[in-house]
């Protein structure tokens, strides 16, 4: 088991933040990570940009494009994590697409993750039924392969939940990532179905969450241990560019405050 559990220890309702590495540049990414840690973030999802991010809405698509246009690569991101890992104590996971890992060589990629202190992987285009592509390598290097459960998972929830590790990423609603004004999914019944099959692995809800009020509502659902925000942070970065770290810090502070 990796360090991911620390983010949820002592009944902490975790605030999980997603950023795209290299948007607008890796130096700013570093500063944002420090700023988020200083303001109480419990876990960070570091996005490795991909040319064709099919699970993302327009906001994160644009972040991927900015990062790639600026010449960010997987190796440069590995180096960035190496440089900060001594100071950054919270769990870190990578969020990227299957081809980024496959093309690098799964063994080499996941071994490097383990060496530089990456605790888990989120691969939105890797369905549960295909996870053997990467799972044996993840186990070999003690990196958690995080499962996602969506409103359409239905009768697949039980098997996904039973084998989940790290944390369970609950997708709040249909569609791709992006800010939503309201979330209408019956999340209670999804969480219940998960908990029936897996009482222990922490659950965090993401997709569409941007305001402290939404975060609070989501975190109050029984059995939920945290919330994930991505597009709202990326919007701040898109607006403020290299000056974003302080603004992102303020935002993280407000989201975390809503969860305490």
């Amino acid at each position: 088991m990796s360090n991911i559990k620390n983010a949820f220890a002592n009944n902490n309702k975790a605030f999980i933040a997603f950023i795209t590495c290299g948007d607008p540049d890796l130096d700013t990414t570093k500063k944002i990570i420090y700023s988020m840690q200083n303001n109480g973030v419990d876990l960070i999802e570091l996005g490795i940009p991909f040319s064709d991010p099919t699970a993302e809405g327009v906001v994160i698509q644009a972040a991927n494009l900015r990062a790639l246009t600026n010449g960010v690569t997987t190796d440069k991101i590995f180096n960035m994590v190496r440089e900060i890992r001594n100071d950054i104590k919270i769990p870190l996971v990578f969020m990227t697409y299957a081809n980024v890992i496959f093309s690098y060589g799964a063994d080499k990629f996941i071994k490097t993750c383990s060496e530089i202190g990456i605790d888990g992987l989120i691969i939105p285009d890797l369905p549960f039924e295909e996870k053997e592509e990467f799972l044996p390598v993840c186990k070999k290097y003690n990196v958690d392969l995080i499962s996602m459960i969506a409103p359409t998972s239905e009768n697949r929830i039980a098997k996904i939940a039973k084998e989940a590790e790290g944390f369970i990423y609950i997708v709040s609603s249909l569609g791709v990532t992006g800010v939503r004004s309201e979330i209408k999914t019956d999340l209670n019944s999804i969480v219940n179905a998960i908990r029936k099959n897996n009482p222990d692995t922490p659950c965090a809800i993401g997709f569409g969450i941007s305001t402290p009020e939404q975060a609070k509502t989501m975190a109050q659902i029984p059995g939920v241990n945290g919330v994930i925000t991505g597009s709202a942070i990326i919007k701040i970065i898109a607006q403020h560019g290299t000056n974003a770290p302080d603004f992102v810090g303020e935002y993280v502070k407000s989201m975390k405050a809503a969860l305490i």
């Binding site: 991909f50 569609g175 791709v176």
Partner: protein
């Protein structure tokens, strides 16, 4: 299935027109995603789709071509699955799409086989078709796969040449990857970023190839060869002039191979070329390629 709405992606627009036609017939709503670049070079098909009652959404992300239309159709489907069916237009994407599309397209080789046996009383020596995702090609090959004497040749779009970046020849220039829900060959860079491919033909302008083609390539059952824009345009003109048939620029890629190959063979050998679409839609692009503007 209780679905009332159809979505589809399209490159050249042929699949979009087919989906729109089916939707009109079945009184279903239809939305077609099409790369913005393709909406311009295949304007006739955009008009046909609209005429048939479909909504055409130009996709501006990425290279504004087929790959981006597929991504956008997938995104749309995740947001609206209860009433919507995604009618994928090639033998690609996640299982079972490659199988569903192949089974429907297999009618091509069933008919080829029936008709050639009737007329010539023997199997063809070569069957060739163009390959983007590879639906008409797998359809042309399927009933011949077990007939080892029949050589199967897929013609990929080489664009401006396989030694340039402006190519879509996946088998020739790509390597194994995982994208759009399938493991197959893809044009990509060293970090797995999908390459912005190019071809004069919107229907072949895709950075991957259906997984069953990748398999036929790996086991050596089918051969995949690159054909450039220039070669395809020459074949397009040649068939028009000699037979009075204006082929789709996609199919002209396969035709080009047949034109090159035929002189090497004995006169009694048979080559079957699948002309998977008509070329009306391509006249303005080919004219433009030859330096003539017919759209005033």
């Amino acid at each position: 299935m209780g679905k009332t709405r159809l979505i589809a992606e399209t490159g050249a627009g042929q699949h979009g027109v087919a989906a729109a036609t089916a939707a009109a017939l079945m009184d279903m709503q239809c939305v077609v995603f099409m790369g913005i670049e393709d909406t311009q070079r295949q304007a006739l098909n955009v008009y046909k789709m609209k005429l048939l009652g479909a909504e055409v959404i130009p996709v501006e992300t990425g290279t504004g071509t087929l790959k981006d239309a597929v991504s956008e159709a997938m995104r749309e489907w995740t947001s609206r699955i209860a009433d919507t069916h995604y009618c994928l237009g090639s033998v690609m994407g996640p299982h079972p799409f490659p199988v569903i599309v192949r089974d429907f397209q297999a009618v091509i080789s069933r008919e080829i086989k029936e008709q050639i046996l009737q007329r010539e009383n023997k199997l063809p020596d070569i069957v060739t078709a163009c390959v983007g995702g590879g639906s008409n090609a797998i359809g042309s090959f399927w009933h011949f796969i077990k007939d080892e004497s029949v050589k199967l040749v897929g013609c990929e779009a080489a664009g401006k040449g396989v030694d340039t970046f402006e190519t879509a020849a996946t088998i020739t220039t790509g390597r194994l990857g995982i994208f759009h829900g399938m493991k197959s060959y893809f044009c990509q860079d060293e970090y797995g970023q999908i390459a912005p491919v190019y071809s004069i033909s919107a229907g072949l302008d895709y950075p991957g190839i259906g997984p069953e083609h990748a398999y036929l390539h790996d086991i050596g059952r089918a051969e995949y060869i690159p054909v450039t824009d220039e070669e395809a345009v020459c074949a397009f003109e040649y068939l028009s002039r000699t037979e009075g048939i204006i082929p789709a620029i996609e199919s002209a890629h396969a035709l080009s191979y047949a034109i090159k190959k035929a002189p090497e063979l004995d006169k009694d050998k048979i080559i079957v070329v699948t002309i998977s679409g008509r070329g009306d839609k391509d006249c303005s692009s080919v004219a433009k390629y030859r330096g003539e503007n017919i759209n005033e």
